[in-house]
């Protein structure tokens, strides 16, 4: 199993949540102090450098117009890590190609970073969470189609070397596409996608040999998604690669009390408030889910988990915390419950968790948890063809 350090680079120094209606999309920029922001950017990047020395790989993401995430351009932070780290792989999870558009520019940026870090880059593509629709002003009813047209075009741009080609698709139209530079890794860096329910996208990811990642979901849901991925895997005659990834919030402490204190700080992330219209723009989820929403039975996918307490979140595997042995046991239990998985993305920093405690937790994880889980085997396909091999 591979383990990846992650922070969303939050800006937690806000008025109390009960004085705000939302900390996403429309929270005025006056609440951002550039002096504090400068410290935070440098601190979070320092923690990635420490993570590199501790033996972690690195995961980065981006969001827009939100205090939950100051990283508004993952290619920029990835480019910094490409120079400042030496060992770990760097995964952008991901490029919001549905919202950003311009998949050819994304392919160029990824190729450049991949060359700078000499092939340590993993390239994720994401559809983007519902809030992102507003900052990008993307039509919320077409994000899946935009995602896949963008991924397929980026991969074609990476792998077409002999002559320029043109592309006149539904969302992107370009002439004479001809990448300089092309990626360091051949034929292209590993591709990842994320998902939380869309089985069609999971099957597409499996069929193309891409890694499938899901975040902060209970284990029974994760098993359902990973099973769909694995059962699609060999049926489609894969060239190889692929795999599954899961991200919980993680805090490793010297004592149980210390760990619970840390966990209560990092679940700040799940308590971040968002006004209802940003949680479910029209057409972002299928009509069947919106029928439930009209009945009041669905108000966004993270809401259900948010409302439950820390104990429940630990039981479900969404938050893993405790002493090193306890955390290792929780990882192994999750691994067993979901039929195994390949990449553990550890969100080890969120909210007000300060540098000292973040590094303490990361260090304990690296020195005492990592050796216990590193040997967990890569997963096997579930379908009949896979079982027969």
């Amino acid at each position: 199993m591979d383990v990846w350090h992650f922070t969303e680079m939050p800006y937690p120094h806000l008025p109390p949540f009960d004085e705000l209606t939302t900390i996403r999309v429309t929270l005025p920029g006056k609440h951002f102090d550039p002096n504090i922001g400068a410290d935070l950017f440098n601190r979070y990047l320092d923690e990635y450098v420490i993570a590199d020395e501790l033996g972690f790989n690195h995961m980065l993401n981006e969001h827009h117009q939100t205090a939950t995430c100051l990283d508004v351009a993952a290619p920029l932070s990835a480019a910094i890590l490409a120079r400042q780290t030496r060992h770990g792989r760097i995964c952008i999870l991901g490029n919001p190609v549905a919202n950003r558009g311009d998949p050819v520019r994304i392919a160029e940026e990824m190729a450049m970073i991949d060359c700078i870090c000499r092939g340590r880059l993993d390239v994720g593509f994401v559809r983007g969470v519902p809030y992102e629709i507003f900052a990008a002003n993307t039509n919320p009813t077409q994000t899946v189609e935009r995602l896949w047209e963008g991924i397929d075009l980026a991969v074609k741009a990476w792998t077409t070397h002999d002559a320029p080609f043109n592309f006149e698709g539904r969302f992107t139209r370009r002439r004479a596409i001809n990448l300089w530079p092309r990626p360091y890794q051949q034929p292209h860096p590993p591709v990842w996608i994320t998902g939380s329910s869309d089985l069609d996208s999971i099957r597409k990811a499996a069929g193309r040999g891409y890694v499938f990642a899901t975040f902060l979901q209970p284990y029974d849901k994760v098993k359902e998604l990973f099973d769909a991925y694995r059962s699609a895997y060999l049926d489609q005659g894969l060239p190889g690669g692929g795999g599954t990834a899961f991200m919980p919030l993680v805090y490793t402490g010297e004592t149980e009390a210390d760990a619970e204190g840390g966990a209560r700080e990092i679940i700040w992330y799940m308590n971040a408030k968002t006004e209802p219209q940003f949680r479910n723009p029209p057409g972002y989820v299928p009509v069947e889910l919106n029928v439930q929403a009209l009945r009041g039975a669905f108000s966004g996918r993270t809401e259900a988990m948010r409302a439950q307490g820390l104990e429940f979140q630990r039981e479900q595997g969404v938050v893993m915390y405790g002493t090193p042995d306890q955390v290792a046991a929780q990882v192994r239990r999750f691994y067993d419950r979901v039929g195994g998985f390949d990449h553990l993305l550890v969100m080890q920093q969120a909210g007000f968790l300060d540098h000292k405690r973040t590094v303490a937790s990361m260090t304990l994880f690296a020195k005492e948890v990592l050796p216990q889980i590193r040997g967990l085997a890569r997963t096997r396909p579930l379908n009949a063809k896979g079982a027969a091999e």
Binding site: R170, P276, V287, R295
Partner: protein, 256 residues
């Protein structure tokens, strides 16, 4: 009353025909609240109402290539031709008013009169002017307050609806966003062609419409040569639902 699916421009379009008399084209608003309203019942007493559901609304299909009210207007012009209708009046509510103007700007020869009720469709101000309140970025409670003079008239009990009814509500919401998300609720080109609308036209506006204000309505009406503009008090975005009697008086006076 009959609703059927017609094959128009290669897609299935739901068209309801209701009432008896001279035909009248009814283009509903994005929420299709008109369908059960007293206003349509009243109009159906002396007209045969032709009520199409736009692509993605009601039971109409929604092929990917249809992306704007401009596209929908071509479908509806095909529909009018296919049905072989005589010259007829049209009433368009909200989104339906916008589609009616998209049709009339292309070809108004099928129309005798045009009634537009708080339509969207054009941008009047500059880049930082919010001509049309952003119903997707504002809190739903704020949207309701802007839309209705009397919010009680706008309350809908979704828990009492069947799955089939809720599916149509959810699908209508989704399709409204598909066609109107960006450019937000307007076609930047439409106002350049509204001079082509030469049939008698009446804009009706709710005095308290906070989504598209009466000032927006007045500016919009001035883009259509000779158009009349009338307001209805005690009403927001749906004056025909909040003040049906006054609305019917205006419409009957205009249609003659």
């Amino acid at each position: 009353m009959t609703a059927s699916l017609l094959r128009i421009s290669g897609m299935e379009l739901e068209v309801e025909r209701r009432g008896q008399g001279a035909p009248l084209l009814v283009l509903c608003g994005e929420e299709a609240l008109e369908l059960d309203s007293p206003v349509l019942a009243e109009l159906a007493r002396d007209h045969e109402l032709i009520i199409p559901s736009p692509p993605g609304f009601g039971r109409s299909g929604r092929p990917d290539w249809i992306e704007t009210p401009d596209d929908i207007s071509y479908l509806y012009l095909d529909l009018v031709e296919t049905l072989g209708l005589p010259k007829l009046p049209a009433v368009g509510f909200s989104l339906g008013g916008w589609i009616a103007l998209e049709m009339a700007a292309k070809d108004d020869s099928f129309l005798s009169h045009l009634v537009l009720v708080d339509p969207y469709g054009v941008k009047i101000g500059g880049p930082t002017d919010r001509d049309i309140a952003d119903v997707w970025t504002l809190h739903p409670k704020r949207v309701a307050a802007l839309k209705w003079f009397d919010q009680d008239k706008g309350r809908r009990d979704f828990t009492a609806m069947s799955d089939g009814e809720l599916t149509i509500v959810a699908r209508n919401n989704e399709s409204f966003a598909r066609f109107c998300w960006d450019p937000y609720m307007h076609n930047p080109k439409l106002k350049r062609f509204l001079h082509r609308v030469r049939v008698p036209t009446l804009f009706v506006w709710g005095e308290h419409d906070g989504i598209v204000t009466p000032d927006y309505g007045r500016a919009y009406s001035r883009l259509v040569p000779g158009a009349d503009f009338a307001t209805i008090g005690g009403a927001g975005h749906y004056p025909h639902l909040e003040q049906p009697a006054e609305f019917m008086t205006l419409v009957r006076g205009f249609l003659g």
